[in-house]
């Protein structure tokens, strides 16, 4: 009998337990190719287009738009016309019966973030995968380790990965020290020390990109390679209306337009994303820590830590990925870099390239690590 292909709610990162199916891009009876847009899914971070994991004829769409369903739930069924309808119905019934019990088991065994002592403070990390030189993810200003939800689990299939919350962020202690790039870089080294990791491939976004650059320059023995997504540290310009708005706004309706500056398509910013940023900012000490970091890194509305003059000294392979529609750090800062640094510019992409264009960014990182 011909094959029946299930399409399930994807799991984008470990924080994702359920997703809201916002809209279908196909109808039953249409044919879809692998990699084409199947539907839109909203998560706790941003909304994203879900690309069909397989090619085939769409026989069933099983979730109404506007419905929130758990990860792994059957969304659609693909099968060729020769598969009769009763066989499809039987398949759906059997899948859904099995899903209920498997979902409970999977939830119990999923990797969870944990806290460790590093450099005299509590740091939250999430480790997934095993083997090889570890891949370390460092988020940007105001973010947390869940910013890598579309990347970490994917890249963990072939190696050990570690994502961390910088001091002052997420589930880490709200003690940023000096709060400047060197201090934050020291905090990252302390995490590597605490984990016994000698060398790591780094992936850093924005302020995390500057931290990656600082480590690659100052601690070359610890850095195997660096992938910098819209990194700070390559030019003085920064959109201070973003930084100031992020710090100042405590109501969702006022914060939303600020967060929309992060992405090319403002619809990607979900209500839950806004709410999660507010919740993080409300944690005791978080606001003061973020203000300290902003004051140390962006005093006078300019980036204070710049590495452009020293890029020739980089000892490890470095690639830069930048959205051409970045409204926080201008993509022009990716120009004029040494020829040894590969630069990938992504069209119609904002500051959150790793979330907005997760598949492309993941592929660039995989190829780079090979």
């Amino acid at each position: 009998m011909a094959e029946i292909t299930p399409v399930v709610m994807p799991k984008w990162g470990l924080a994702m337990q359920e997703g809201l199916l916002a809209a279908w891009h196909v109808q039953p009876g249409e044919r879809i190719e692998k990699g084409r847009e199947l539907c839109e899914i909203e998560t706790s971070k941003i909304a994203n287009v879900f690309e069909s994991p397989a090619s085939g004829l769409v026989r069933r769409l099983l979730v109404e738009p506007g419905t929130t369903v758990p990860v792994g739930k059957l969304l659609a069924v693909l099968a060729e016309p020769e598969v009769p309808d009763p066989a499809i119905d039987a398949y759906v019934a059997a899948f859904e019966a099995r899903f209920a019990s498997e979902a409970a088991e999977a939830a119990a065994s999923a990797p969870q973030p944990r806290q460790l002592e590093a450099g005299g403070r509590r740091i939250r990390i999430l480790e997934i995968g095993e083997g090889g030189v570890p891949l370390l993810f460092v988020h940007g200003f105001g973010g947390d380790l869940e910013n890598w939800m579309f990347n970490q689990a994917e890249l963990a299939a072939r190696r050990r990965t570690i994502a961390l919350d910088l001091p002052g962020h997420g589930g880490s202690a709200k003690e940023p020290g000096e709060g400047d790039v060197p201090a934050l870089a020291d905090a990252v080294v302390a995490v590597l020390d605490a984990l016994g990791v000698e060398r790591a491939h780094l992936v850093g976004h924005s302020l995390g990109g500057a931290i990656g650059l600082a480590l690659a320059l100052e601690r070359p023995q610890r850095v195997a390679s660096a992938t910098l997504v819209a990194p700070a540290g390559l030019g003085p310009e920064i959109a201070m209306d973003y930084i100031e708005g992020f710090l100042a706004q405590s109501r969702a309706r006022k914060l939303r337009p600020v967060l929309e500056m992060l992405v090319h398509d403002p619809k990607l910013v979900t209500a839950e994303m806004v709410e999660n940023v507010l919740k993080a900012k409300r944690m005791d000490g978080a606001q003061a820590a973020l203000e300290r970091i902003a004051a140390a890194c962006f005093a006078g509305g300019r980036q204070r830590w710049l590495a452009r003059e020293r890029l020739g000294a980089l000892a490890c392979p470095v690639q830069v990925i930048w959205g051409e529609a970045d409204r926080i750090l201008p993509v022009a800062q990716a120009e004029g870099l040494p020829a040894t640094i590969a630069v990938h510019r992504l069209a119609a992409t904002g500051h959150l390239a790793h979330m907005e264009r997760a598949a492309e960014v993941n592929a660039l990182i995989e190829r780079f690590l090979d």
């Binding site: 506007g66 589930g171 109501r251 969702a252 309706r253 919740k279 409300r282 005791d284």
Partner: protein
């Protein structure tokens, strides 16, 4: 993020603030329980177990079981606040406030004003409110509009466990007297609540749903009913904005007026009696400030002007329900001027 009940969230807020600040003390009827009797201390932790475990952790000096005399212990809490402690007193059911109202509205609420801003009264009075508990007329009222009426008091109504922890921590850190309303039908409801302490600022409403057609303004338990209605109507392509005002005093006028003007159709949901209520207060605010933006008269969904009935069937009819909210939303949508 861990899920916790409304009860656990309140208990955690109290514990973390007591750990952070030695001036924070608890007092009330049976907040520990077992005082003076043989057997287990901390037998109760309050009538619904909200403060359980705090007496063993902090001792009898900071968790005080009081006599059944609200006029005495609420007065003692107000006095302790005026002289340097930060007491959290539990007025078991808000229905009992009548015997201690002078201590609240004539003393606590007035000190800052009458002493020229030189006095602060950082007292929190936690209290249970709301119908649905089969507890009859004297243990089921809302009454938060009465406290909202008094200048000098702040009034908070958390709508879920996350809100409860953040608003209670803010209440304890606030230098003014705060009346903190816990809905007794919500103690077992769960939400994701961070382990770390966090404070939710007063006077900042939370927009829990966004839609283009009707604005529903609600508070306390009614926020959840309004959210249910919004989710249901979204499937019919009717967009409902839901505003959780969080605190009735201070009131986030800005968010209320903005969201009211955006849709031009407003429903206010208030579990208390309709006269001199939050519903009338907010309806009047919108009518005065945004009359030109309204496309329909403001609709109120409230309990009736009657005591809470003891008959379960009547009590169920008494409480503003999702069905009544939905009917009101459809009514303002259908209005043709």
């Amino acid at each position: 993020m861990p899920k916790k009940t409304y009860r656990q969230a309140i208990n955690e807020a109290l514990r973390q603030e007591m750990e952070r600040d030695p001036r924070v003390i608890l007092m009330g009827e049976d907040v520990a329980g077992g005082m003076g009797s043989p057997g287990e201390d901390d037998a109760w932790g309050g009538p619904l177990g909200v403060t359980k475990g705090l007496m063993p952790r902090f001792g009898r000096e900071r968790v005080l079981d009081t006599p059944i005399s609200e006029s005495a212990f609420i007065g003692a809490a107000v006095g302790a606040a005026a002289t340097g402690l930060r007491p959290v007193a539990e007025l078991m059911f808000v229905d009992f406030f009548g015997v201690c109202f002078d201590q609240i509205f004539n003393q606590a609420a007035k000190f800052r004003y009458m002493f020229g801003g030189k006095a602060v009264t950082p007292v929190v009075i936690r209290t249970m409110y709301g119908a649905g508990f089969r507890a009859a007329s004297q243990h089921s009222q809302c009454l938060y509009p009465i406290f909202t009426h008094i200048p000098g008091l702040k009034v908070a109504l958390p709508s879920n466990a996350y809100e409860a922890k953040g608003l209670l921590i803010q209440a304890i850190r606030d230098d003014d007297p705060v009346i903190f309303f816990e809905h007794k039908a919500m103690y077992d409801e769960e939400a994701e609540v961070p382990d770390e302490p966090y404070a939710i600022p007063f006077g900042e409403a939370n927009v829990t749903r966004e839609g283009d057609d009707v604005t529903v303004i609600a508070m306390g338990r009614m926020v959840n009913f309004a959210n249910q209605v919004a989710d249901k109507l979204a499937k019919e392509k009717i967009g409902v904005t839901v505003v959780d005002i969080r605190t009735t005093s201070p009131l986030d006028r800005e968010t209320i007026l903005e969201t009211a003007a955006e849709t031009g159709r407003v429903v206010v949901v208030d579990e208390s009696h309709p006269r001199c209520s939050m519903a009338t207060d907010i309806a009047a605010l919108v009518a005065q400030e945004r009359f030109a933006d309204l496309k329909a008269p403001v609709k109120m969904v409230t309990a009736p002007h009657a005591p809470v009935p003891f008959s379960p069937a009547l009590e169920d009819l008494y409480i503003p329900s999702p069905a009544k909210i939905e009917a009101a939303v459809r009514e303002v949508l259908a209005f043709q001027g």
